[in-house]
């Protein structure tokens, strides 16, 4: 009984983390390790800062509609 329930919860957690982009850092690290193994990996704080700065410089990123 608990196995399907656990699986459903895991899926929900995965969806929420993807939807809110909370998983962005892990995705970026995975991407760097795979594609550019010799570059230094930024820590999460630096990464999140870089992300908001990108949005700052082009406000059309993540723009929402009426």
């Amino acid at each position: 009984m608990t196995a399907p329930l656990l699986r459903a919860l895991r899926r929900l957690r995965w969806y929420v983390r993807e939807f809110t982009d909370e998983s962005a850092y892990e995705r970026y690290v995975a991407h760097l390790r795979k594609e550019h193994p010799h570059t230094a990996v930024p820590d999460r704080r630096a990464f999140e800062r870089m992300r908001t700065e990108r949005r700052e410089s082009d406000p059309r990123q993540g723009f929402r509609c009426c």
Partner: protein, 711 residues
């Protein structure tokens, strides 16, 4: 020929039957009470058939989406803005980005024509125009590495049409922000409960921003949960404030609110994104998804009865108090979001194409999200149609017509041909703990009354006032976010344009330029807001049609770009799939602009209005609803400005359509002369399902290729 299996035939026949029954009941009902269930049935049945058949046809036969072609997300994957995103996640992202206050406001105002015209337009419009536009723009932008609509217009049509499109987009953004802000002012004026809870969203967002920046970077879910808990607390606390001695501090006149909103818009747009905008975005997205789910559940659980007429007399007479003009063309511009919205083209050609895994998914993400937004619009129409029509008109007619007391309002409503007693009007306001509901124009308060009606059927009457303010808070929350984000986008466009004249403006981090352009953008929409609040003829009544025209004109730009691309990419035979909606949209909008400029009915035509009031001023008379000579001069100035804007917008769009037509003709005459800027074909190495549910073959393909695929 391929044979369909019998089970499929049975299932789709049933779906068609459900939809057809819904439509028949809605169309044939006369003088009897109709349940909202039929509206839901007509909508869902039609959506299912459109998605299964028409969207499939457009995607596979017309666009020829190619499963083997790598998307920009795969080719340019940088782990940040370009990355292949699961289709279900992207559907959520895209839906949250396109659906805002628009689909909730337009249908409510359009309910003045009765529920039937709105229902037909929302459903038919989304199937043949709105969802097609979103999907086709998404497809073409995906083929161009996620280029924006403006860039595509410039590259595929030409610099002239491109510049007109850009200018139109900027003007539309300004009018949109002014009208949205006006909706907020009308909902919060003289309401200490609403004003307090909305004011509290600022410190809550600042706290969340600090948490995400300093304490725990990137932990969005936990900070959003904290934020929502605080938000609900602020909502409950609003009632205590309204009942305490602090009430006067938060009871603000409309003109005071204008100053607060303009100041907020300016300051918020020059603060760093992490402080206010990003956390607000999380809050409003969570609230939006949550409330829409609750509303859908509420409508389905309670299945309320529609009290509005199917078609009111205003539809043919064109003298409705909410907005003037007859059913054609004004229903089709009042309901923009939910049926056909030009703004979506900005989303479909920006963020989403950089994240889509497979071209085949444009059907689910582009067409599917728009069907969901249309369903939201249907729910808003249900919410507006289940309240007493007398109350609806007392809330939505301009103050000059309704008067200041419930007695006057009751008489005014009787003049419209409906009836509600002064006692009932007073009781409706009391039930939601508001001072008055008279002339609360803009749609948000009416929707909130409808929502509180539906929700209190589930939770009991004691919660009615809470649900009313919950609905107001949820709309105000994302309109405020839109003011901030929209000012930034407007500023970005302005910086780009001014950069042609004075180079440093292009540099978006050049502080003086930033402050100057931010002030200019807030000043511009602030002007419309100020005018709307002080308009003797009613701000929503005068400005909402311009907003509708503007939004539909942007759709005309998007559809013109789509049609040009279809022709240029050798799909001339199928160009009608966007050319027909374009012809319809252009007819509706240009007719509306024409009437707004040239109509001899002073309620509709801005220049007729201007000359009538000018003549009266010269004769020394005051025409109602104006009360003083100052009001008379205000009307003259405003109708001149409004008339000129309507004319300029229409001209810009005619330029874009003519220029697009020229490019199409040139291509038909000499296909070799035109150039198509499409990214070259690269073979895809990803496997991902095409639709919401993976088929058996897709699952098999995925397990063969990546044994450890997630999730």
């Amino acid at each position: 020929m391929r044979r369909a299996n019998p089970r499929t035939i049975v299932v789709w026949s049933l779906v068609a039957l459900v939809g057809a029954t819904g439509w028949s009941v809605l169309a044939l009902a006369r003088d009897e009470e109709v349940s909202a269930a039929w509206m839901v049935a007509a909508a869902l049945g039609s959506y299912a058939i459109a998605y299964r058949f028409y969207a499939r046809f457009v995607a596979y036969r017309v666009l020829k989406v190619d499963r083997t072609r790598a998307t920009p997300a795969e080719r340019l994957d940088n782990g940040i803005d370009f990355h292949p995103t699961d289709r279900r996640v992207l559907l959520g992202h895209h839906f949250a980005a396109i659906a805002g206050a628009g689909p909730l406001v337009g249908p409510v105002l359009a309910a003045q024509m009765g529920y039937l015209p709105g229902t037909i337009w929302i459903i038919a419009g989304v199937i043949f125009a709105g969802a097609v536009q979103d999907m086709v723009v998404l497809f073409f932008s995906t083929r161009r590495d996620g280029k924006s609509l403006g860039q595509m217009a410039r590259e595929e049509i030409g610099p002239f049409g491109g510049a007109a499109a850009l200018l139109a987009a900027f003007a539309i953004m300004i009018i949109l922000l002014g009208v949205l802000a006006l909706v907020i002012v009308n909902a919060l004026a003289e309401s200490p409960w609403g004003t307090f809870s909305i004011a509290m969203t600022v410190p809550i967002a600042l706290l969340m921003g600090f948490y995400l920046r300093v304490l725990r970077p990137g932990r969005v879910t936990e900070v959003s949960l904290i934020g929502i808990a605080l938000l609900l607390l602020a909502l409950v606390a609003g009632r205590w404030v309204a009942e305490s001695s602090l009430a006067d501090t938060f009871t603000l006149a409309p003109s005071t609110l204008v100053i607060w909103l303009v100041a907020y818009g300016f300051i918020a747009s020059i603060l760093p994104v992490w402080m206010l905008l990003a956390p607000r975005d999380y809050l409003s997205t969570f609230m939006k998804i949550g409330t829409i789910l609750l509303l859908a559940l509420g409508v389905v659980l309670t299945l309320p009865t529609l009290k509005m007429d199917p078609v009111t007399d205003f539809a043919s007479r064109g003298d409705g108090p909410v907005f003037a003009g007859s059913l054609f063309p004004f229903v089709f511009i009042t309901i923009a979001c939910g049926a056909l919205s030009g703004f979506h083209a900005l989303i479909s050609s920006g963020t989403t194409p950089k994240m889509i895994q497979k071209e085949t998914q444009v059907r689910m993400v582009g067409y599917g999200s728009m069907l969901m937004e249309s369903a939201v619009a249907i729910m808003a129409l249900v919410a507006a149609s289940i309240i007493d029509p007398g109350l609806f008109f007392a809330m939505n007619a301009p103050a000059g017509v309704v008067g200041d007391t419930v007695q006057e309002a009751s008489k005014a409503v009787a003049n419209f041909g409906y009836s509600i007693s002064p006692a009932d009007l007073a009781r409706a306001a009391e039930q939601v703990e508001e001072e008055s509901l008279l002339s609360r124009t803009g749609g948000a308060p009416t929707l909130a009354i409808g929502v509180s009606e539906i929700f209190s059927k589930v939770t009991g009457d004691s919660m009615r006032a809470f649900w009313y303010h919950f609905a107001i808070m949820f709309e105000a929350l994302f309109i405020l976010t839109a003011l901030d984000a929209g000012t930034r986008v407007g500023r970005f466009m302005l910086q780009d344009m001014l950069g042609n004249v004075h180079k440093p403006f292009r540099n978006v981090s050049w502080k003086p330029g930033l402050i100057l352009t931010s002030a200019a953008v807030t000043g511009l929409w602030g002007y419309f807001l100020w005018v709307g609040v002080h308009e003797p003829l009613g701000g929503i009544n005068q400005l909402f049609p311009i907003f509708g025209i503007a939004n539909q004109l942007l759709a005309a730009v998007a559809l013109a770009v789509c049609t040009t691309l279809l022709v240029k990419s050798g799909r001339l035979k199928w160009a009608w799939i966007t050319a027909v909606p374009l012809a319809w949209d252009a007819t509706v909008t240009l007719t509306a602009s024409w009437q707004k400029v040239f109509s001899s009915d002073p309620r509709v035509g801005f220049f007729q209005q201007r000359s009538d009031y000018q003549d009266a001023i010269e004769a020394g008379m005051v025409l109602p609803p104006a009360k003083t000579m100052d009001d008379m001069h205000t009307v003259v100035t405003n109708s001149t400005v409004d008339g000129v804007i309507s004319a300029v917008l229409a001209l810009l769009i005619v330029v874009v359509i003519l220029d697009a037509g020229r490019v199409c003709l040139r291509h038909i005459r000499d296909p070799h002369a035109s150039r198509l800027s499409e990214a070259p074909y690269v073979e895809s190495r990803l496997t991902a399902p095409d639709g919401l549910f993976a088929t058996r073959e897709e699952k098999q393909r995925a397990s063969e290729q990546e044994p450890a695929a997630r999730p």
